[in-house]
């Protein structure tokens, strides 16, 4: 009995299959569906004649979404499709029964593909009513979709969020779609208080408010991120959000906040593998006897933050980039090569992100080069203080390095050119020894100076020497690659530490620093009291001299006959002991080209 009904069910279910096929527009196809987030845009209330309008609106939304931060950085991680489903009638149903119904909007039902309608009791709540039609369409046209946005053909504002995002063509409505994708894809909570039942732990909502352990603790030093209560009383006071009024998850006219961007990027990197192509295939052992290139096809963000690290037998190789070539003779048989790809994006500050979302590709290598005992260095010529990795190849016995270590690979940081040796003892055979010389190149004799101290308005002059190329960094985003630099019209906030990386012909570099002082021009520059103060006056057994000018100042004290009695050089302030007969003396304080003179009485 039951089987008959089962059969009947199957027959009638089969008959509901969506037989018609609609045109699928590929708006942006950046890669295979499995390794992209696939957003499908549907249209309701567009007639056959209005299909070009729908296609244009769909592209407009896709472009709006892809310009949004952080999606814009990862725009190649998305595919966008639009399915052209024509409606019998143009527009959208409007029951006109809600108290907030728009007075100028015509009331009436429209026969549309997905049956979108303004709300019966809340007008702006525009929803699709024919969910089964939508579902059947997706099953036959794009079953592996990830997110759906339905555009409703009316300029009146409205939309809704749930499993799918729905909104009208009103200019203010397209952020509804982006906000809803924030919920569905980024698993973000609302940052407005939506009610107690929506209180939940999420990337941007938590009951834990301790700054040391709150979910967004790594962003607390980046305003406007903070710890804000959802409300002052009740359940709202128990829940916290990272921003207050400045996030798309709170107001539709805002951007996603840093914490929501981080959660979105983490979801993207969890779902999308940046390693799209691997050459050669990793399935079989690769014979490297004659040398071999290894290559990754990477899906790069628009700011390429992907970092590739290559390891041979667990040892970091001094190469980065998507491709590496290994020379046959350097690879011992049964070696393993691993490439690790990690997105260093600063959009996420997640702890341990390297451990969580590094993607590794491993090849097993074989070589028929006869085992000759030798040492291979990651580099045989390096700048001082750089590390070199040494690996012993071709030893089937016990190793002993001149450093005392016994592992297959060692790391050394020689402070001068050094010869390293390693012995290989195979039982029953004589000890073999191999040597390698690591040449150390000295660092450049880098210097940095400036012609200060300066007064506001002066030209700051920086000079560096000792290398071939120079890279300056300094206050107020100062940067330059010239050895001699002039910065006219100095301001007070250009004072500070200037740093220059000096690189020589060998590529060795050293950093030098110079501190630039800039002092304000006082409002009455010729008023000597402002420049220099001498106290006490009259003085007894000492005088104190103070100036607001920066840099070195000199003071000289003369008797009335013009004989120099005391001379001192100081910065800002000095105290001179006096051992002089009572009388009137002259002082002269100089600083650069400035000079101030006066009389001091000694009692």
């Amino acid at each position: 009995m039951k089987s008959i009904f089962t059969t009947l069910i199957i027959i009638c279910i089969a008959s509901t299959a969506f037989s018609q096929h609609y045109q699928v527009d590929t708006l942006y196809k950046k890669g295979p569906l499995e390794n992209r987030i696939n957003i499908v845009i549907l249209g309701d209330g567009f007639t056959q004649e209005q299909m070009p309008k729908f296609a244009a609106e769909a592209r407009k939304f896709a472009d709006f979404f892809l310009a949004y931060d952080p999606y814009t950085v990862y725009r190649d991680y998305f595919n966008f499709f639009a399915i052209r489903t024509p409606s019998k009638e143009s527009g959208v149903s409007n029951p006109g029964t809600a108290p907030d119904a728009y007075k100028d909007q015509p009331v009436g039902n429209k026969d549309t593909f997905f049956g979108a309608s303004f709300g019966h009791s809340i007008h702006r709540l525009v929803e699709v009513t024919k969910f089964d039609v939508l579902f059947n369409l997706m099953s036959t046209h794009l079953p592996a979709y990830d997110l759906i946005v339905v555009l409703v053909n009316t300029e009146y504002y409205g939309g809704s969020g749930g499993q799918i995002a729905v909104h009208t063509l009103n200019d203010a409505a397209n952020t509804i779609g982006v906000h809803e994708i924030g919920h569905a894809f980024g698993r973000l909570s609302d940052e407005y208080w939506a009610g107690s039942i929506y209180g939940t732990e999420a990337a941007n909502m938590t009951a834990i408010s301790d700054p040391g352990s709150i979910r967004w603790k790594n962003w607390l030093n980046s305003p406007p991120v903070g710890i804000y209560k959802h409300g002052l009383e009740g359940d709202a006071a128990k829940w916290h959000k990272p921003t207050n009024g400045t996030c798309l998850m709170e107001y539709l006219d805002q951007q996603l906040c840093a914490v929501c961007r981080e959660a979105t990027v983490e979801r993207l990197l969890e779902n999308i593998n940046p390693v799209e192509k691997i050459e050669p295939d990793t399935a079989a052992s690769i014979d490297v006897t004659a040398g071999q290139a290894f290559k990754l096809g990477l899906l790069k963000p628009s700011r390429n933050t992907l970092q590739v690290q290559w390891h041979l037998n667990g040892m970091l190789l001094p190469f980065s980039g998507d491709e590496i070539s290994l020379k046959g003779g350097e690879i011992p048989d049964s070696s393993a090569l691993t490439a690790t790809v990690f997105d260093t994006t600063t959009l996420s500050r997640r702890d341990d992100s390297r451990a969580f979302r590094s993607r590794a590709v491993s090849w097993s290598l074989k070589s028929s080069v006869p085992a000759v005992f030798k040492i291979v260095a990651s580099s045989d010529s390096v700048c001082l203080r750089n590390e070199v990795a040494l690996t012993a190849h071709g030893c089937a016995g016990a190793l002993k390095w001149s450093t005392g270590e016994t592992s297959k690979s060692i790391h050394v940081t020689p402070d001068q050119t050094t010869v390293y040796s390693c012995s290989c003892q195979v039982q029953g055979q004589s000890v073999k020894t191999a040597e390698i010389s690591i040449h150390i190149m000295p660092l450049p004799n880098a210097t940095a100076t400036n012609g200060g101290p300066y007064l506001a308005g002066d030209t700051i002059k920086l000079a560096a020497a000792g290398g071939k190329t120079y890279m300056w960094r300094g206050p107020l985003f100062f940067a330059s690659i010239s050895p001699q630099v002039s910065i006219p019209n100095a301001t007070l906030n250009q004072a500070g530490l200037y740093e220059v990386v000096v690189k020589d012909v060998n590529g060795c570099s050293k950093t030098a620093q110079t501190e630039v002082k800039v002092d304000p021009i006082l409002s009455v520059p010729n008023d000597q009291d402002v420049l220099v103060s001498v106290s006490p006056n009259p003085a007894r057994d000492y005088i104190s001299i103070e100036t607001k000018l920066g840099g070195k100042s000199n003071v000289k004290l003369y008797d009335q006959a013009g004989r120099e009695l005391i001379s001192d050089s100081f910065e800002k302030k000095t105290r001179l002991p006096l051992n002089l007969p009572s009388g009137i003396y002259l002082y002269r304080v100089s600083n650069g080209s400035r000079e101030s003179t006066g009389k001091v009485a000694v009692q």
């Binding site: 509901t16 579902f135 099953s139 036959t140 809704s160 809803e180």
Partner: protein, 164 residues
């Protein structure tokens, strides 16, 4: 065309509900429409009509089932509204038993906004609606159970779909 066959389906399903055990039916996966035996990955689309009420009073009908090729990602909006339909796929072997939570079509939350950018959640009630379940088919799938979740009645099983 589509509307006509849907009506037939509802009617037939309705008849079956009356005569047979209403809360149970059986599907042969290989015979689901558009099931492509040559494809390695299948996504099942199951469309259930829900009516009658919440908290275990739901009447459930399987309206349609179809299949598509491909792999689904784990991207779905989580449901926080306390009235829910929960679905659990059961497998004969060791495959992961996955719990999926859907909004209850008869009582759900909806986000509504205004042109100034303010939003709020509102409650939306209905007398009937659909639960649309998209499910990656793993081998050994032999049952899908539906539960009604509500604060008053907790979790109540309302439907079982057997696969063979």
């Amino acid at each position: 065309m589509l509307r006509l066959s849907s009506t037939v389906a509802i009617t037939l399903a309705g008849l079956l509900m009356i005569h047979c055990k209403p809360a149970q039916s059986t599907l042969t996966v290989g015979q689901i429409s558009n099931y492509n035996a040559n494809s390695p990955d299948h996504i099942l689309f199951l469309n259930f009509r829900i009516s009658g009420g919440v908290g275990g009073r739901e009447k459930v009908e399987l309206l349609s089932a179809s299949a598509g090729d491909g792999k689904m990602k784990d991207i779905a909006r989580s449901v926080h509204f306390p009235y829910q339909i929960k679905a659990i796929a059961r497998y004969s072997a060791s495959a992961v038993e996955r719990e999926m939570v859907f909004e209850h079509p008869l009582f759900k939350g909806r986000e509504v906004s205004d042109p100034s950018g303010h939003m709020r959640q509102v409650e939306v009630k209905a007398t009937e609606g659909n639960v649309l379940i998209r499910l990656q088919q793993h081998s050994g799938l032999n049952q899908l159970e539906l539960f009604s979740v509500s604060p008053e009645k907790g979790t109540v099983k309302i439907y079982t779909l057997d696969f063979n």
